[in-house]
Symmetry: C2
Subunit: 152 residues, 2 copies
DNA sequence: TCATAAAGATTGCATTTGCAAGTATTGTAT
DNA sequence: ATACAATACTTGCAAATGCAATCTTTATGA
């Protein structure tokens, strides 16, 4: 074995250099942090995502709402069930179609939104705190490129 | 409203520019692709990760094996149960300690490994195909920086 | 040495998840 | 107008997940 060769297995090299793997590690770590932050509020990640989407646009049908965050129908139903239970959200009958509802934040729901923005800022901040501003720009460019390629 | 202002809500801007959010989208998309690839092999993502780890190092205890992929003890037990059921893996009694097992690939298990490397290459390749080689280097540097900061 | 704690692994049980099937309503084509 | 397909949403049920308790074995300290 030559002096310069590394004593790592090929498998190790593959895993540690895998973008997919690193993305997963990062994602798991972010999820854990978000969950921890959301715990005091009694919110799951799905419920959080739904509330953020409602902060962006109210009055959509369940399907439209769910599709914004790639949430399947059954999960959308259940997430809204839970948020309705907490009085953060309400279903209103659609005026044109009796098979769909339009989803709105309640006043009570509106009060929790600002705290959610704070959490997002905090978690993203931690994530990015080790990067230079050049690197942040690079990462954003790269992410957008990848995500765009996947969904267009 | 000035000519140059964009007609998007603040919420939308926050979500679409959130690194955490984009990481999650990317991760979900990767997971779905991996699951699809692994389906013919009858493997879950956890089982896949365990087999890849075994390709990297055999003869570890369950706990050691699980800790390499941040898998909690109970999940490690169950993943190994399933892989043992498929005859891809076997538990051998530890010679020094009667409370632990050492985990090894079986011959049959070894035959599936090459296919797993192919899948990893394929999925990572798709992920990165839209990036220039400079961008790939940048992404790797950035990922390593973030992941290192989180776990050291 | 003996009690007590810690480590390694497993499992019971409740919750979550996801598929597939269900209901009700609306759209489409003959 | 009628039959058939598609849409919107819900739900039953089985599998996956996760917490906490358990069992066994090993380590630690007085």
């Amino acid at each position: 074995m030559s002096k310069s060769s590394k004593t790592v297995s090929p498998a190790k090299t593959v895993r540690e250099n895998s973008f997919g793997w690193m993305t997963k590690i990062l994602c798991a770590s972010l999820d854990a942090e978000m969950r921890r932050e959301l715990k005091h509020l009694g919110l799951s990640l799905d419920q959080f995502a739904m509330l953020m989407t409602l902060a962006e646009a109210e009055g959509l049908t369940q399907t439209a709402l769910g599709s914004r965050i790639s949430m399947p129908g059954y999960a959308t139903t259940r997430t809204i069930d839970a948020l309705e239970e907490m009085r953060y959200v309400e279903r209103r009958k659609d005026e044109r179609s009796r098979r769909s509802y339009r989803i709105y934040l309640t006043d009570q729901g509106r009060t929790v939104i600002p705290g959610l923005f704070v959490i997002v800022k905090k978690v993203n901040g931690q994530l990015l705190s080790v990067l230079s501003s050049d690197e942040k720009k690079q990462l954003m460019t790269i992410y957008k490129k990848i995500v765009t390629a996947r969904f267009d």
